[in-house]
């Protein structure tokens, strides 16, 4: 899937990984349409750093694990920290194309190699005290989409009340229809509030604070 030069580039990007990161990949024995590619993708990435630990779960045979992580469909990837604690970060569909950047960023940030966030903003993130679900709808060929995915995932990482899903509309077209996605990225917060375009953390937070 990756040639040697790409592998080396990803190794370099993953070099700053601090703590171990657990990658939980949910699939099933009779693989779904995109499961083969997603599986191959995570296995490939997993080999590129000793700090990564991939576990594969059968969605049907392992309903407990799927339920524990609130996995609703496959292929799905959940990210947990070194202690196995859920970060709230989810990828529904393969994080290939431009989303490889969101995936690597999620691994780095979960490990503790984080981009700095201004204190005032961080205080607002920490103050969110109700359950929040952020869905970011993307297509893999969209260069602007990772910005929105990375912002939503960072919110999840900093506050356990917040969960954030990347959803590939190409893999889950029925969700695209259900949520009226006719441009990506599209951000849906708690099923009711919408933001269209690559919005930064501040804008998502403004919507969350008004929920």
């Amino acid at each position: 899937m990756f040639d040697d030069s790409v592998k080396n580039q990803i190794r370099t990007i993953l070099n700053p990984l601090k703590e171990r990161v657990n990658i939980l990949y949910f699939t099933q024995e009779f693989e779904c349409a995109m499961c083969r590619d997603t599986g191959e993708f995570v296995r490939n990435i997993n080999e590129l750093s000793p700090k990564l630990n991939l576990t594969e779960f059968d969605y049907l045979k392992n309903p407990d694990k799927a339920e524990e992580f609130g996995i609703e469909r496959i292929p799905a990837i959940a990210i947990a920290d070194s202690g196995g604690k859920d970060t709230g970060i989810r990828f529904y569909g393969p994080p290939a194309g431009y989303e490889v950047n969101s995936f690597l960023s999620a691994l780095l940030e979960t490990s503790g190699a984080k981009q700095e966030i201004p204190v005032a903003l961080m205080n607002r993130i920490k103050a969110v005290n109700k359950p929040v679900n952020i869905k970011v709808f993307i297509s893999l060929s969209c260069p602007y989409c990772p910005e929105a995915v990375i912002a939503a995932h960072r919110l999840a990482l900093e506050n356990t009340n917040i969960k954030a899903d990347m959803i590939d509309v190409g893999v889950f077209p029925h969700l695209g229809v259900k949520y009226n996605v006719s441009g990506v990225p599209k951000i849906v917060i708690n099923e009711t509030r919408e933001l269209v375009g690559a919005h930064p953390i501040e804008n998502m937070l403004e919507v969350i604070e008004k929920l």
């Binding site: 960023s105 060929s141 006719s182």
Partner: protein
């Protein structure tokens, strides 16, 4: 399955310092495409006190998949070339701000540039290298239905229109390329453009001709986009017959070229009919100490190598200005 690694977003920047509001810089470079980044290398090597502000590193290059005409590379990915440009600037320890836009320039012997983060930069000279951005149709319904069927990035939003009817506005290279990408997945593609001939390169037009689900509306213009929550139909005018009609469809992809980022220059410089900055052969504008380079200028050819070359010229010109003219 493809992957599009954007390495530059993971590189840390040990050698960038923040811009100081108290310094008077020899030059301020506005824009971080090929023109601005090349200018930065030349200014730093000349030992000028240099500040660089930019919205997005790489400019249009960062949005380009493959480049096959930049010397030294028979093929390079736009992200990779951006990374290389940036690395070369990074070695100097330049004063730098990213994700920041210049909003206004106040002319004077020492010039003041106001930024959208509330700060201001003082400099003896300025190099404007703000490039271009995608143009809108400016017709009723367009603004309201953006991302509700009106799209400006066919590779991003194309997959959402599988099996649907779409229109592409524009028959240049980007319009025809979008039509090719969309013809593979949409049920019908209407290619609409006001000229009666496609302006795109022959090689692109020929590959579009292979699709049987493309309808050509040459000599036509979209007048209005209709729809309540989503795009439902468009009104199209036949320019030769002066008649108009409606087409029911789900998406409109706008690919009608680019306009220069000169909006923030309102009163400082006179622009030409295309809103470009007129420059002379030394990249000088009509205002003393203000230089411009790349796609934002009236230099006819808009290419990476041309923008980079003009960036180098603007830097050397600014150097001469500081040393021999500035008092």
């Amino acid at each position: 399955m493809n992957i599009n690694l954007n390495i530059s977003s993971f590189v840390n920047e040990p050698n960038f310092n923040s811009i100081s509001p108290d310094k008077i810089y020899d030059t301020l470079i506005i824009g971080g495409g090929p023109a601005g980044l090349t200018a930065a290398v030349y200014c730093m090597r000349k030992g000028m006190k240099t500040a660089l502000v930019l919205k997005k590193a790489g400019g249009q290059v960062a949005e380009t998949a493959s480049i096959e005409n930049y010397p030294g590379y028979s093929y390079i990915d736009g992200n990779d070339l951006t990374l290389k440009f940036r690395e070369q600037v990074m070695q100097f320890g330049i004063d730098y701000a990213e994700n920041v836009s210049a909003e206004r320039i106040i002319q004077g012997n020492v010039k003041k540039t106001l930024l959208d983060n509330g700060s201001a930069v003082s400099s003896k000279s300025i190099i404007i290298a703000t490039g271009k951005k995608w143009k809108k149709l400016n017709i009723p319904g367009e603004e309201r239905l953006i991302n509700r069927g009106v799209a400006y990035c066919s590779i991003c939003d194309g997959p959402l229109f599988a099996g649907k009817k779409v229109a592409v506005a524009g028959g240049g290279n980007s319009g025809v390329q979008a039509a090719i990408d969309l013809a593979k997945i949409a049920s019908v593609v209407y290619l609409i453009q006001h000229r009666d001939r496609l302006k795109a390169d022959e090689i692109l037009v020929n590959s579009l001709k292979k699709f049987s689900n493309v309808e050509y509306l040459l000599g036509h213009e979209i007048r209005e986009i209709h729809g309540e929550k989503e795009v439902e139909k468009i009104t199209v005018e036949n320019l030769s017959g002066n008649s108009s009609f409606e087409i029911p469809l789900n998406g409109v992809f706008v690919e009608i070229g680019m306009i220069p980022n000169t909006g923030f220059l309102n009163d400082v410089l006179k622009l030409n009919a295309f809103n470009e900055i007129p420059v002379d052969h030394l990249c000088r504008t009509e205002a003393a100490g203000v230089f411009a380079a790349g796609d934002v200028t009236d230099v006819r050819y808009k290419q990476i190598i041309v923008a980079a070359g003009e960036g180098a010229k603007a830097a050397l010109s600014a150097y001469d200005y500081i040393n021999f003219e500035f008092v």
